[in-house]
């Protein structure tokens, strides 16, 4: 059928312009196809030939540039919301598991030289790192609440996605900086402590990898919102 190509071409063009979670993209395109098929059927029922009916349906749907801009905002928002929930769950969970792992293999953290407590600057870095996951998770939760309020006030999907992306990137920057800082600080004071317990060292490596992965997800929030 000649007219089938009009809708197919439109959806292929639209799909090719969109970047974001594949399942959300497929969901949006499936719904768009339903709408275009319905509109084409209505025009056919009104007496138009198939090709003309589908061309009219596509024209009614709007220029692909405008449609792609709106749909891209939705994709960016979907990715951002999912990323914020991931931060809320994964960061505190990773922190708790790391602490439990430490307690299981080493017990209480001994002082660095066996007598004197660690220097004040090290304790400051350690406390910042200990709290980073919880602070970022809290910020992500606040961003979700604020985002929902803004959505109810009519703020568009793309600005909401940029807001969520900014919170996610800033939060992961803070968490990653805290994680790397404590590793470097410990290496500076007592490098042997980093490999004192292989399971704890492995957990630290896994923690850094998790942080890097979350940072990539956070960065994609901004990338998808900027397409």
């Amino acid at each position: 059928m000649a007219g089938a190509g009009v809708i197919d071409d439109y959806l292929t063009d639209l799909g090719g312009r969109l970047r974001g979670p594949e399942h959300v993209k497929e969901d949006l395109l499936a719904e768009a196809r339903d709408s275009l098929d319905d509109a084409a059927a209505a025009y056919r029922d009104g007496g138009l030939a198939a090709a003309e009916a589908q061309a009219r349906a596509v024209a009614d749907f709007g220029p692909v540039d405008h449609t792609a801009r709106d749909y891209q905002g939705l994709l960016a928002l979907a990715h951002s919301v999912r990323t914020l929930w991931t931060l809320i769950v994964v960061l505190p969970l990773a922190r708790v598991l790391w602490e439990l792992n430490l307690a299981f293999w080493i017990g209480s953290w001994p002082s660095f030289d066996g007598v004197a407590p660690p220097p004040a600057w090290y304790l400051w870095v350690a406390r910042a790192n200990d709290s980073a996951g919880w602070v970022v998770a809290g910020a992500a939760l606040c961003a979700l609440v604020v985002g929902r309020v803004l959505a109810r006030r009519g703020v568009g999907a793309a600005p909401l996605a940029r807001f969520a992306g900014a919170v996610a990137v800033a939060g992961m920057g803070f968490a990653l900086f805290g994680n790397l800082s404590i590793l470097l600080a410990t290496a500076q004071l007592d490098a042997a402590r980093l490999v004192m317990s292989p399971p704890v060292a492995a957990a630290s490596v896994v923690s850094v990898l998790i942080m890097l992965r979350l940072t990539v997800l956070a960065r994609r929030c901004v990338v998808f919102a900027s397409v």
């Binding site: 339903d34 709408s35 449609t67 959505a151 109810r152 999907a157």
Partner: protein, 112 residues
């Protein structure tokens, strides 16, 4: 009617159409056109992002279901959506009453 003028009211219009019950996207578009006497002539592609945004805001809920033998994504008002619609209707009535008082009453009475 200009689509730019409609965009500012699109959320409220969609909530109002869904007040009658669960509908799929194209049925929502048909209802908008029918209830406006054909005056609401938005690109249909703008309606779906608006519905998804309302879903993100928790004002409507959407799900895929089988309607008339076809799988379709249908939408319904949530409790928060019903409250938002009531607030929109109140605000709209206050607005139209005020404007009608100025525009709809004919010439302002001349001073005695």
């Amino acid at each position: 009617m200009k689509s730019d003028a409609l965009r500012g009211h699109l959320d409220a219009l969609l909530l109002a159409v869904l007040d009658g019950g669960q509908l799929h996207g194209y049925a929502i578009i048909e209802a908008l056109q029918r209830r406006s006497g054909g005056a609401l002539d938005l690109p249909t592609g703008t309606v779906y992002p608006a519905l998804r945004r309302l879903e993100t805001a928790g004002l409507v809920s959407g799900e895929w279901s089988t309607v008339g033998g076809r799988r379709r994504r249908t939408y319904r008002l949530t409790k928060a959506g019903q409250r938002a619609l009531a607030a929109e209707r109140t605000a709209w009535h206050e607005f139209t009453t005020a404007i009608e008082g100025v525009l709809g009453g004919g010439p302002w009475p001349a001073r005695a």
